[in-house]
């Protein structure tokens, strides 16, 4: 087991030992046997902070449980695709905030605010590029991650619900791509959105209502852009964050699958994997 700061290794329960003095005597209230060098002091100061927070939050059993939980034998590189998707989402969230500093969601000013951002703002074009290509990466990664869970049979008992949450995340991610495409408000995004909304409206039952909701009316008007903006940067990201939370909760709770070809009933004391073909 890897080394952890003592405060994390031995969580002291509130009220167990006076004012939180620890058994190893390193805390502020401990009896110091010999003078510490400055470095030692700083380190302990940091651990003290950890201990202080831990005493008040009780977070360390949770964190140690999270970090030291076992991942099954055979866990390989394919299992990194989910966290890579998460990483791409975080990139989108951070670069998105930067873009929102400068973007003006109005049909008359949007285009010029993007021009200003691209041409005048320090690193503006770079951050726009990050947001654009980050979106592409997120789409690729979410499909790869879905493929991994499909081919590994990870959607089967007891992880059915996590698959369902995943599909909703996939749909929401595609909605992000659709709504974000309009925001630069250049000719291509404008006309592509008109067609996309007509396609939506041609759908059965909810199609026309969904299109009217997104367009803010039966036609593309000046209020359409602010609506797309609100959906793109408030509504859908909020849903995505909540669902990622639920998704990861279930991942930790249920554990990730072992690769499907691994069998537990290998001969005793032999770690040889039994491959059935």
């Amino acid at each position: 087991m890897p080394k952890l700061p003592s405060a994390l290794r031995k969580p002291s329960k509130p009220g167990e030992r006076g004012n939180g003095a620890r058994r190893d005597g390193g805390g502020a209230n401990g009896v110091e046997a010999e003078p510490h060098p400055v470095r030692e002091k700083t380190k302990e100061g940091a651990i003290d902070v950890v201990g202080w927070v831990d005493q008040r939050t009780g977070a360390s059993p949770f964190l140690t449980g999270l970090l030291l939980r076992k991942v099954p034998k055979g866990t390989n590189w394919f299992y990194t695709l989910g966290s890579a998707t998460l990483f791409a989402f975080v990139v989108q969230a951070l670069t998105g905030v930067f873009l929102a500093f400068y973007y003006v969601p109005s049909a008359t000013e949007a285009y010029d605010s993007i021009s200003h951002l691209t041409n005048d703002v320090f690193l503006g074009e770079f951050v726009r590029g990050l947001h654009k290509w980050g979106a592409t990466m997120m789409i690729i990664l979410i499909f790869l991650h879905m493929g991994r869970t499909f081919f590994f049979g990870a959607y089967k008992y007891p992880r059915e619900l996590n698959w369902v949450i995943g599909v909703v995340l996939l749909i929401l991610t595609l909605v992000m791509g659709l709504t974000g495409y309009l925001l630069p408000f250049d000719n291509r995004s404008y006309w592509a959105t008109i067609v996309a909304m007509n396609i939506t409206a041609s759908g059965p039952v909810v199609g026309p209502y969904l299109a009217d909701f997104l367009r803010a009316g039966s036609e593309f008007t000046a209020t359409t852009l602010p609506r797309f903006y609100a959906v793109h940067m408030l509504l859908v990201p909020g849903l995505i964050i909540a669902l990622i939370g639920a998704h990861l909760y279930l991942v930790v709770k249920l554990g990730t699958t072992a690769p499907p070809w691994l069998r537990a009933e290998a001969k005793p004391k032999s770690s040889r994997e039994e491959k059935v073909g």
Binding site: L67, P72, Y111, F151, K156, P158, L174, R263
Partner: protein
């Protein structure tokens, strides 16, 4: 999966998990390496490819290509494959909706307890076929050009009159620059679908019907009522003379 199979799975999983390694640092290390790779790729693409900005959105525009992001190409291609207007709703929303519902409910109809790919022939075949179909449609969408030129010869009686000929050519130019070619075919130019071929549209419907189509925009077609009147009239006249 019945009760016994579920319990067998959980027991086996417990053993495999016990034989595993702690999440920190082993899985965390792999995850971090992968995140670094993703970060590098995104930064490289942002630097090399950047983010361009086209001309400002303009409802009365000339040049535009109604082209979605690449990951929606397969949807648009579906429209080309399934063209009859009465089937369009099926292509646009029907098929994607059915696919999404099938995807969402996958764990509930695939009750096979087996997880090894080589023992799930039906699921594997369906999955691989879906991937191939989507890749193929995306490829078609990516390679469908966005032509901006129409080369059709005017009918003889127009060709003979210089003024009428100029009007005809102006109308052809408006059509070419207004993105009609993304969805319609004129002679040798343009994409065959999702809209009907317009090579002989003038023989099929009268000018008033054409002009109504442009304003009311049937199906998924964008409305063109906002074109400046001069262009709009030339466009209608051009279409009506195609026979």
């Amino acid at each position: 999966m019945n009760r016994a199979e579920q319990e067998a799975y959980l027991r086996e999983y417990e053993v495999l998990k016990k034989k595993g390694k702690p999440f920190f640092p082993y899985a965390v290390l792999k995850d971090s390496v992968m995140m670094m790779i993703v970060a590098l790729v995104i930064v490289a693409m942002a630097i090399i490819l950047g983010a361009e900005q086209g001309p400002k959105a303009d409802p009365t525009t000339t040049t535009y290509v109604p082209r979605p992001e690449w990951y929606f190409f397969f949807l648009f291609e579906l429209l080309r494959v399934i063209k009859p207007p009465e089937l369009v709703p099926i292509a646009t929303i029907g098929i994607p909706t059915i696919c999404m519902v099938l995807l969402l409910l996958l764990p509930f109809y695939d009750r096979n307890p087996e997880r090894r790919p080589e023992r799930r022939p039906v699921a594997m075949t369906a999955g691989i076929l879906t991937i191939i179909a989507m890749a193929y449609l995306t490829f078609l969408g990516a390679s469908a050009g966005s032509p901006t030129e129409i080369e059709v010869e005017p009918p003889p009686q127009i060709a003979a009159d210089t003024a009428a000929r100029e009007e005809f050519e102006f109308g052809a130019q408006v059509a070419a620059q207004s993105g009609c070619l993304a969805c319609h075919k004129f002679g040798e130019n343009g994409n065959d679908g999702p809209g009907p071929e317009l090579t002989e549209i003038g023989a099929k419907i009268p000018a008033e019907a054409i002009s109504r189509s442009l304003v009311a925009a049937p199906g998924i077609m964008p409305a063109y009522g906002d074109l400046p009147p001069r262009k709009f009239d030339a466009l209608v006249e051009f279409l009506a003379s195609l026979r």
